[in-house]
């Protein structure tokens, strides 16, 4: 077997040195449960055979090379070639969590830079070394708000991605906390402020929200502050922060985001990158790993994992979270891509996205029978079709157009069958947009 260096002779020699006759003698403690016969599974394959088998599966999927307009929490952007090259360097790809800092400065300095980038991007003081994804980071933010406020009830906006709301609900129900999730709010008309009282630990609101609306967090932040409630701001398209005011500057107390957009591919939903940032005064209540600056015995600057007394491997049942793994390699991809973009490139890329979405929206607005629901948006908006959006998407897929996400896929049974979410980024050409507009025009005329 090409991955196993020990030869049959070496195995024999090693067993003999231990005074054992057979390899199964090593499993003596499991004796009565040791499998007598091999399981009914295929045998080993050559590299070429595996490539063929996996290639055949991959070929059955319609990849995003087609005209592509899906978003709803996962976005297709162009990633510079150097990003993927760098994250495949052995020293990043095949290293462990940096528990031995003297020989992990590469990973640790990246994390320190990453934390700084995330803090500046979100307008917060501190950020952790990443979470699994945006949805689990949101659920963790709710738990953290409970710890900070010593209250156990959360209010979630109807503009929050339904998968995020459900993720928070599962954890909340299991921990016997209270959670109130408002109904889907496609027109951004809900009045959150009126529902804020001092029984709440936090209000969770997304901007751009799942329907694409940009929400002004400032009045909400003020109302939260008056009642001792934390404002948790969620961002699922982090590129938006290149153009719009950061949640921190708008008064959020905790910012969580899906970082996939920068540096990371679609990957059918994972692995993604949870960003988690907050104010300095709450740092000891944060979940997840933190990297901090220090010095070595010769006085040279270096970095270590720190404040681990919050974490499960030290605190066990008193930890702030059970999280152990982070999304290290995705964080690295994010950090590399963002350091290539810099502030200038980030803003320009965000502008291109917004301009493309505006151009698409303007074209769609000329189609009779189709309505744009958004007053404001970044690179994604919601339209109302005359008929089922899911059926339209299916028909379009038949013509190799990936037209968007039907709202009913996220919120089935909410009576929103005709709503379609459409995202447009720098990857879309004029031709792509024209193809989609023509398909929509045809749909409206059906």
């Amino acid at each position: 077997m090409r991955y196993l260096p020990l030869s049959p002779t070496e195995r024999e020699d090693m067993l003999a040195r231990m005074g054992l006759a057979h390899i199964d003698d090593l499993f003596a403690d499991a004796a009565d449960k040791l499998l007598k016969d091999p399981l009914n599974l295929p045998g080993r394959k050559t590299e070429l055979e595996v490539e063929r088998a996996m290639g055949a599966l991959a070929a059955k999927n319609l990849a995003a090379g087609a005209p592509f307009f899906l978003g709803a929490g996962a976005y297709k952007h162009h990633v510079p070639a150097s990003v993927d090259h760098l994250i495949q360097r052995s020293e990043f790809l095949t290293s462990y969590t940096p528990y031995q800092p003297e020989i992990s400065q590469g990973t640790l300095q990246v994390l320190f830079e990453f934390q700084t980038q995330v803090a500046r991007l979100t307008g917060m003081d501190v950020a952790n070394a990443s979470m699994y994804d945006g949805s689990t980071a949101t659920a963790e933010a709710v738990l953290m708000a409970h710890r900070v406020t010593r209250r156990r009830k959360a209010l979630l906006s109807g503009g929050l991605h339904p998968h995020y709301a459900e993720t928070a609900r599962t954890l909340s129900d299991m921990a016997d906390d209270e959670i109130c999730i408002l109904p889907p709010d496609p027109l951004a008309r809900e009045d959150l402020i009126r529902q804020i009282d001092d029984s709440l630990s936090c209000v969770v609101v997304q901007s751009p929200d799942v329907f694409g609306h940009l929400r002004d967090l400032r009045p909400l932040a003020e109302a939260c502050r008056a009642k001792g409630v934390l404002l948790v701001a969620v961002v699922t398209e982090v590129l938006a922060l290149g153009l719009i005011e950061s949640p921190g500057a708008q008064g959020a107390d905790i910012v969580v985001a899906e970082g996939q957009s920068i540096g990371n591919g679609l990957n059918f939903g994972g692995p993604y990158l949870g960003l988690f940032a907050t104010r300095e005064k709450y740092v000891r209540q944060m979940p997840g790993r933190l990297c901090g600056q220090t010095f070595d015995s010769l006085g040279r600057r270096g970095f270590v994992l720190t404040l681990s007394t919050r974490e499960q491997h030290i605190r066990r049942e008193k930890a702030t979270s059970n999280i152990c793994t982070n999304s290290g390699l995705c964080a690295l991809a994010f950090s590399i891509h963002l350091s290539l973009l810099g502030e200038k490139g980030l803003r320009e890329l965000a502008l291109v996205n917004h301009a493309n979405a505006v151009a698409l929206a303007e074209a769609i607005e000329t189609i009779p029978g189709i309505k744009l629901l958004n007053g404001s948006f970044f690179n994604e908006f919601c339209i109302e079709l005359p008929g089922s959006a899911a059926e339209f998407v299916e028909r379009a897929a038949g013509q190799k157009i990936l037209a968007g996400v039907p709202v009913s896929r996220l919120s089935p049974g909410a009576g929103l069958e005709n709503l379609l979410l459409i995202a447009s980024s720098e990857i879309n050409t004029d031709d792509d947009r024209a193809t989609l507009v023509a398909a929509l025009r045809e749909e409206a005329a059906r």
Binding site: L26, L41, G43, F92, L93, E102, T170, Q293, L340, A359
Partner: protein, 515 residues
């Protein structure tokens, strides 16, 4: 070799640049990046009417940009300050640093896997769903269980999933109010009690026996009508197979509780023992350990959970359903007993591709051989080191990892941490230290199946030389170590006392290079 100067920085001449030959120092991107520069060419759009609702950003963010050559240089230099499995032995017990085949990476980058959106119509992602079905089949078969939940994103998330299924099953029996206790041995990973506590359970510890095993009598004494589950790692964190596990499972089930197995060490028994045959109700599988999706400096991982028939109905959404020829994902819990959703979308697809690639490459026979070689290598280290290092279980067979304690270092003036740092000077990543907590000064060594006989011999010879040094009183070799790493011992206490978690200065302003 011992004639080399040990105090390199004191005896060798200073360099002007701070670099030492190939060992480059690297400033922060905030120190050498520029605010008005980008390494990505973009044509900003002209003449369009923004629709940002008046929320356009007013102030700068403070993010530096690098050209592509600067970027490559920055990260390549940083990478060289990292240890890696590709560079040398990485015997971190419980962490399973085995070889990461590059075919896994190549397959994960096929556009048919990497460039598909999680919410595309099912008709356009049949290949991805078939891949999930194939992986499920392998995991269920290898574990002898009924079902698998693929969506958990890491081991601890998988623990959460399994314990949520248990909580849901107990609630369905109407016993949610009474069964509020989870049993966990003292040797458990920290995630176990943390998971139980996060779900509102209280944790009742079970003492380990002097032989490092959990004993049925101790479990029986802790069981009662208030117990929801036991969380047990097998093979356990001392590297031992819990030989009474079938009996323990029987007791747990008889008491109306469930058996959660922490599957972090499944890599020792793949193709040899099926956890389902041991009475396990739920077990997470760390794809990044057992099936070698890379660790990536801390993640991402993936933690699918296999479930017994007793827990399968409560699995989280989404789950796969075959609809004739077609596969679909059931994404809503309504109409089933599912406990709900654990995360957006459907799990770590990129990791599924890598794990299935690894599994197909090995086949059933190769997976069993990998486990055998991992166990063989660990036992070989045990036999070759037990005369110079002490272990409470030195004479017993171990599984894929071997545990030593610090008894043999007593009164030497060298701590386990010092010993670990001296291994760094020898070009070897230290083993896991101070875990598990059940022995004093734990050193947990997991060589994995990826090491050649020559590397194992080199490791043995190095550790023996270090051990003789401890016994010979060469304390300096340890207390000042590491001497040859990119950094000497770092001040972790200082880092925690006054945390500096972000760079506070404006772009381009450099911090003094030293304290």
């Amino acid at each position: 070799m011992n004639e080399q100067p040990r105090f390199q920085d004191k005896k060798l001449p200073r360099t002007f640049s701070g670099h030492h030959g190939l060992a480059h120092e690297t400033g922060l991107i905030f120190e050498h990046g520029r605010e008005d520069f980008t390494g990505v060419d973009i044509d900003p759009p002209q003449n369009f009417k923004p629709r940002l609702g008046g929320l356009e950003r007013q102030s700068p963010l403070g993010l530096p940009g690098l050209s592509e050559p600067e970027c490559l240089r920055h990260y390549v230099r940083l990478s060289k300050q990292n240890y890696a499995i590709d560079a040398g032995l990485y015997p971190l017990g419980s962490c399973t640093m085995k070889h990461n085949p590059r075919l896994n990476e190549k397959m994960a980058r096929l556009p048919g896997f990497s460039d598909i959106h999680p919410l595309q119509p099912f008709s356009t992602v049949q290949g991805a769903l078939q891949l999930m079905e194939a992986l499920s089949h392998w995991l269920i078969t290898l574990t002898g269980t009924e079902a698998v939940a693929l969506s958990p994103k890491a081991g601890a998330h998988g623990e959460m999933c399994g314990m949520m299924a248990i909580k849901a099953a107990i609630a369905a029996r109407g016993e949610a109010a009474t069964r509020k206790v989870v049993l966990a041995p003292e040797s458990a990973h920290g995630t176990n009690p943390a998971t139980a506590a996060a779900l509102g359970f209280s944790v009742r510890p079970i003492p380990a026996g002097a032989d490092g095993l959990v004993h049925p009598e101790a479990v029986a004494a802790a069981l009662g009508p208030d117990v929801a589950a036991i969380m047990l790692t097998n093979p356990n964190t001392c590297g031992l197979f819990e030989r009474n596990i079938v009996e323990i499972a029987r007791l747990v089930h008889e008491a109306g509780a469930y058996f959660y197995c922490d599957g972090a060490n499944f890599n020792a028994i793949v193709g040899k023992v099926r956890p389902g045959d041991l009475g396990v109700d739920a077990m997470h599988i760390n794809l990044h350990k057992t099936f070698s999706t890379p660790h990536g400096g801390g993640g991402p991982g993936a933690g699918p959970v296999v479930l017994s028939s007793r827990l399968a109905p409560f699995a989280p959404v989404p789950f796969l359903r075959r609809d004739g020829e077609k596969l679909v994902l059931v994404e809503e819990k309504e109409g089933s007993q599912s406990f709900g959703r654990m995360a957006a979308f459907h799990g770590q697809m990129g990791m599924f591709v890598r794990a299935l690639t690894y599994i197909l490459s090995h086949g059933g026979d190769g997976l069993a051989m990998a486990s055998e070689n991992a166990v063989l290598s660990a036992n070989y280290l045990r036999v070759c080191l037990k005369d110079v290092m002490s272990s409470p279980f030195a004479e017993k067979l171990c599984m894929h990892e071997v545990l030593f304690d610090d008894h043999w270092m007593k009164d030497s003036g060298v701590t386990v941490l010092d010993f670990a740092k001296a291994m760094i000077d020898e070009g070897i990543h230290p083993m896991t230290v101070y875990f598990p907590l059940v022995v004093h000064g734990a050193m947990l060594i997991e060589p994995t199946e990826s090491e050649s006989a020559a590397f194992l011999e080199m490791f043995v010879a190095t550790l023996r030389d270090l051990a003789f040094s401890v016994k010979g009183g060469d304390v300096e070799r340890f207390t000042g170590a590491p001497y040859y790493a990119p950094r000497t011992r770092l001040d972790e206490t200082g880092a925690a006392r006054k945390p500096v978690l972000t760079y506070k200065k404006p772009i381009g302003e450099r911090e003094p290079p030293a304290a």
